[in-house]
Amino acid sequence: MSLRISILVAIVATVVNSGAFAAAAIGSAAPDFSLPDASGKTQTLSQYKGKTVVLEWNNPGCPFVQKHYSSGNIPKQQVDATAAGVVWLTINSGATGKQGHLDTQGAQAFIAQYHAAPSAYLFDGDGKVGHLYGAKTTPHMYIIDASGTLRYMGGIDSIPSTDKDDLAKATQYVPQALAELKAGKPVSIATSEPYGCGVKYGP
């Protein structure tokens, strides 16, 4: 059974990489998943049906992620989104021994250090959920609407760099899409090329 599952995951990963068909596609149902979080609970995507959910791929050791945390950009987006009733799930798909892999204490310390405010910090050490969504980089962002449909996938913003000075000039795609969803408008930029460090998947 477990062999069959791992073969399935391998196939999904291959398909996502080939670009021929993505498991996670704009306008389609976002794939469901369950992952443990930093407070010891299990977070299941489908438990949030009826709410908008943001998925953020994270690696605290990645300089691109550090740009958006040490500047306060991502923490502010988390505070604003969750205050508006959005569920923000930060996901770490870094394998054991790779850069940015965290245990529960490490995740809590990371959140405290940057005054981050995700609804939960999730561990995906085997990379299953990362592959299911085709998460390539940290950060890599996804927005799922209240009906469970994927509405945004891509970069955190419009200027690929590690330089905080670029933030003011960049379009922040997640707050823009969240505001459009809230106003009942179509998401004007629903896909963008993500930039950052490669997700540190295991072998």
Binding site: G19, P60, Q66, V187, Y195, C197
Partner: protein
């Protein structure tokens, strides 16, 4: 594991910079300034010639010496990474051109593909010296370089590199001449063949026609991002055309009117192709 952000490596290595500068002074007295020595990258502004000639183009370059297995990036970095960027501060009348990028190497990092350089590399830049530059004066040339150096992990860096060169009618080669010659040899030559790009379902085909097509093509690299996927293209001869077939990028919206790509052969010769797109995509991406 958690590396300090941005300029910190530079600051941390001030001691080593001085050491490197001192060591360099013993070897060459002109045509380069202090190298910035980072843990994974040595970076230095160098000149091909020992002096600047009024009214001529001087070739300067960013010399990058990577630690084993580390790399920096080409103009199209691939699935992740960032191209090295330069911002010049030059004396009045001097102008710097764009980096004359040598053909890149392909780096496969698990599920991601990157394009860039490893080992010792040079990014040459042409600098126009004004005709009225006064002989026997010295020109102070400065460039702020920003780079991302990666192995499995990435570390951004930033440094201001400077070079003082005399203005003179005659000049000699510097010890970097070989490095410049090598960079020039690995620069894509303008391709003499017409090429066309077309969208074929989820693939993009580049057809190259003409005589004396490369006999042993090996790889292709797109200059523009978000057009083709970064996996190597399938290359074959078909009906006297050289056909490069790429998977379409996940972030593709439309074929650019002119799609630029570098074609590399097995002898490390490379050409810059400009593929015209005749067909417009049938429907725009509904998600953009």
């Amino acid at each position: 594991m958690c590396k300090p952000f941005a300029v910190l490596p530079v600051v941390l290595h001030v001691m080593r910079i001085f050491a490197a500068a001192f060591a360099s002074l013993l070897i060459v007295s002109v045509a380069h300034a202090a190298a910035v020595v980072d843990e994974h990258l040595e970076i230095e502004l160098v000149s091909a010639r020992s002096a600047l000639a009024p009214g001529q183009t001087a070739w300067l370059g960013l010399r990058l010496k990577h630690a084993p297995q580390w790399h920096t990036y080409w103009i199209n970095p691939g699935d992740s990474g960032l191209p090295t960027k330069l911002a010049w501060t030059l004396p009045a009348g001097y102008t710097a051109g764009d980096i004359a990028w040598p053909a890149p190497k392909r780096f496969d990092l698990g599920e991601l593909t990157n394009f860039g350089y490893d080992g010792e590399a040079l990014l040459p830049v042409p600098v126009n010296v004004p005709a009225d530059a006064a002989i026997a004066t010295r020109a102070h040339l400065a460039v702020e370089a920003k780079w991302l150096v990666c192995h499995e992990e990435c570390i951004p860096g930033k440094a201001t590199l400077t070079l003082d060169l005399p203005v003179a009618q005659t000049a000699a080669d510097t010890p970097y001449r070989q490095l410049f010659a090598h960079a020039r040899a690995s620069q894509p030559q303008p391709a003499p063949w017409p090429a066309q790009a077309r969208l074929a379902g989820d693939r993009i085909e580049i057809a190259v026609r003409g005589t004396n097509l490369p006999a042993a093509p090996r790889d292709g690299f797109a200059v523009q991002t978000r057009v083709v996927a970064n996996a190597p293209p399938h290359i074959e001869m078909r009906h006297s055309e050289l056909l490069l077939t790429f998977a379409k990028s996940d972030y593709f919206t439309a074929l650019p009117k002119q799609f630029d790509l570098v074609l590399l052969d097995r002898n490390a010769r490379s050409w810059l192709l400009h593929a015209d797109s005749t067909e417009q995509p049938t429907a725009p991406n509904p998600h953009r």
